[in-house]
C-alpha cells in the first residue's frame, strides 16, 4: 500500500543547531501514528516541514504521492487542503467569531463545498466536535479545551485526508485532555482520516496510537506499538514510560 506521507532521511538545521538528522517515517491510510520526543527535540519542526511552513535542508518528503519541496505555490495550497494541521496553541483567528473562523478556509476553497451550503457544513462540523452552540462566540469567550475543539473543526471543514496534531492535549487538564483524545478517535471514525500525532503525553499515546516512533537526536530512535516499546530495555526509551 502507498503511504500517505513518506519521509526518508530528512535533515533540518538552524545555524549550528541540527534538529532533524535523517528522520524517516511512513504514514499509512487509516493509521494513527504517534511521535514522542522531549521538548525541543524537533517535533514541531517536523510537522512544519510536512506542510512547508519550513523548508527541509535535504531528504525525501512526499505527501499523497507528491514531493512537497518541488510543488508550486498553487499546487501546495491545494495539497494543504488535504492535510489538516492542529496547532499547539489552537491558533484561532481572534478577531473572528467561531462561524467566521470555519468560514475562512471554506470560502477560499469553494471546490471543497461539493454542492453543500456553507452554513450547513459549518453547523454539522461544529456538531461533530460537540460545540454547535458556540457558533456566534468569539475565541476569547471559549475555554482552552473548547478552543482546541474549534481549531479541530476548522481543519475538518475542508475534509482533509490526513490530520497533523501538534500536542493536542498540551496545556489542558487531564479530564479535558481525555475528552480531546476521545474526540480524536471519534473524528477518525466519522471522517476516515489518518493522523500523525505529536505528544509527550504517554496516556494519549497509549490510547490513540496504532504505532509509535520515538524521536531522539533528530532520528527515529525506536519504532513499534506502545506495548512493544514499553517493554524495550533501552533506558532512553524507558524514560518516556515512567
Amino acid at each position: 500500500m502507498e503511504p500517505l506521507i513518506h519521509i526518508a532521511n530528512l535533515y533540518k538545521s538552524f545555524g549550528d543547531l541540527d534538529v532533524l538528522n535523517g528522520f524517516s517515517l511512513d504514514l499509512f491510510d487509516g493509521e494513527n501514528l504517534v511521535i514522542v520526543g522531549r521538548s525541543g527535540s524537533g517535533k514541531s519542526v517536523l510537522l512544519k516541514c510536512i506542510v512547508r511552513l519550513l523548508e527541509p535542508d535535504s531528504g525525501t518528503l512526499q505527501v499523497l504521492g507528491q514531493s512537497v519541496p518541488a510543488l508550486s505555490q498553487y499546487e501546495m495550497d491545494h495539497l494543504r487542503t488535504e492535510v489538516g494541521f492542529l496547532f499547539q496553541g489552537s491558533a484561532l483567528y481572534d478577531s473572528m467569531t467561531v462561524r467566521e473562523n470555519l468560514e475562512f478556509p471554506l470560502r477560499r476553497h469553494p471546490e471543497k463545498m461539493k454542492g453543500h451550503v456553507v452554513e450547513d457544513l459549518i453547523v454539522s462540523t461544529l456538531k461533530s466536535v460537540g460545540l454547535a452552540h458556540t457558533i456566534d462566540m468569539m475565541p476569547e469567550e471559549l475555554s482552552g479545551g473548547m478552543q482546541r475543539r474549534i481549531a479541530l473543526a476548522r481543519t475538518l471543514i475542508l475534509r482533509p485526508r490526513i490530520i497533523l496534531y501538534d500536542e493536542p492535549t498540551s496545556g489542558l487538564d487531564p479530564i479535558t485532555a481525555k475528552e480531546i483524545i476521545e474526540l480524536m478517535l471519534q473524528i477518525q471514525k466519522e471522517y476516515h482520516t489518518a493522523a500523525l500525532i505529536i505528544t509527550h503525553d504517554m496516556d494519549c499515546a497509549r490510547v490513540i496510537s496504532n504505532r509509535m516512533i520515538i524521536l531522539i537526536d533528530g532520528t527515529n530512535y525506536a519504532e513499534g506499538t506502545y506495548a512493544a516499546l514499553s517493554k524495550l530495555p533501552d533506558p532512553r526509551v524507558q524514560a518516556f514510560f515512567k
Binding site: 512544519k48 506542510v51 511552513l53 501546495m76 495550497d77 491545494h78 495539497l79 494543504r80 487542503t81 492535510v83 494541521f85 496547532f87 499547539q88 496553541g89 491558533a91 484561532l92 483567528y93 481572534d94 478577531s95 475562512f104 478556509p105 477560499r108 476553497h109 476548522r154 481543519t155 475542508l158
Partner: protein
C-alpha cells in the same frame, strides 16, 4: 575594535532590512493585482482606519488651526498685514503642516495598531494557520491594510485640513471680525493647482508608507510577545522617519514640476 564592529553590523542590519522592506513592497504589488481580491476585508479595513483616527485627526486639526492663527496673528498685525492672514494660514496648512502633522498622527495611531495586530497574529501562529489551510494570508492581511491606508490617509488629511482651516477661521472671526465667506474666499484665491496637487499627491505616499511599514514590522515580527511590542513601536518610529523623507522628496519634485 568593538565600536567599529558594532557600527558595521548595525549598518549591515540596516541595509539588510531596507532590502527586505523593498522585497515586501514588491510582493505587495505582485499580490495586489492578482485575483481573487479580498474586497470585503478591504472595505472593512478602510472603515477601521478611518473610524479609528477620525476623532484624533479632527482634534489635532482644530488645535493646529487655532494655535497657528493665534501665534502668527500678532506678528502680522505688527506689519499691518492681518488681511493676509487667511491666505498665509491656508497655504501653510494645506501645503505642508496639515499633511505632515496628520500623517504623523496616523503613523502613531494606525501604524502601531497594524504592527501590534499582525505581530500578535504572527506569534500566536494565526498567520501560519491561514497558510496551512491553503489560503493566502499576505493577500488577506497585508494587501488589504496597505491599500486601506493608501486610500484613507489622503481622506483623513483633507478632513483634518478642513477642520484646521475652520479653527483658523474661528480665531480670525473673533479677533478680526472676518466673515466665513470672506475668510474662505481669501484662502481659496491664494491656492493654485501647484499647491493642491503635490500636497494631495504626497499623502497617498504617506498612507502607503504607514501601511507598508506597519504590515512589514507586524508580519515579520519574532521572538514571542516582546516582539509584538517591538513591532508596534518600530513601526511608528520607522514610518514617521519615512514620512519626512517622502515629504522632502515631494517638495523637491513639486519644486521642479510646479515651479513654486
Amino acid at each position: 575594535m568593538p565600536t567599529t564592529y558594532f557600527q558595521q553590523s548595525a549598518l549591515r542590519r540596516y541595509l539588510a532590512e531596507t532590502g527586505e522592506v523593498w522585497l515586501f513592497a514588491r510582493r505587495f504589488f505582485r499580490e495586489a493585482i492578482r485575483r481573487p481580491f479580498e474586497w470585503r476585508e478591504l472595505l472593512h479595513q478602510c472603515y477601521i482606519v478611518g473610524n479609528q483616527s477620525l476623532f484624533l485627526v479632527g482634534m489635532t486639526g482644530l488645535i493646529m488651526g487655532l494655535v497657528l492663527t493665534l501665534q502668527t496673528r500678532p506678528t502680522m498685525e505688527d506689519f499691518g498685514a492681518e488681511a493676509y492672514m487667511p491666505a498665509m494660514v491656508g497655504v501653510s496648512i494645506i501645503r505642508e503642516i496639515g499633511p505632515v502633522v496628520i500623517a504623523l498622527i496616523c503613523a502613531g495611531k494606525i501604524g502601531s495598531s497594524i504592527g501590534a495586530e499582525l505581530g500578535s497574529m504572527k506569534v500566536t501562529e494565526q498567520i501560519a494557520a491561514m497558510e496551512v489551510s491553503g489560503t493566502n494570508p499576505f493577500k488577506y492581511l497585508v494587501v488589504t491594510r496597505i491599500l486601506a491606508t493608501t486610500l484613507m490617509v489622503p481622506l483623513l488629511v483633507i478632513f483634518g485640513d478642513a477642520i484646521a482651516l475652520f479653527g483658523s477661521f474661528l480665531v480670525e472671526h473673533v479677533k478680526g471680525e472676518v466673515s466665513f465667506r470672506l475668510f474662505f474666499n481669501k484662502v481659496f484665491r491664494q491656492l493654485s493647482f501647484g499647491d493642491l496637487i503635490p500636497a494631495t499627491g504626497k499623502t497617498f505616499f504617506f498612507g502607503f508608507a504607514i501601511g507598508l511599514i506597519g504590515c512589514y514590522k507586524g508580519y515579520t515580527s519574532q521572538k514571542g510577545t516582546a516582539g509584538v511590542g517591538r513591532a508596534a513601536n518600530t513601526a511608528v518610529v520607522v514610518a514617521s522617519m519615512l514620512l519626512f523623507v517622502i515629504d522632502f522628496i515631494a517638495v523637491l519634485v513639486a519644486d521642479i514640476f510646479f515651479d513654486l
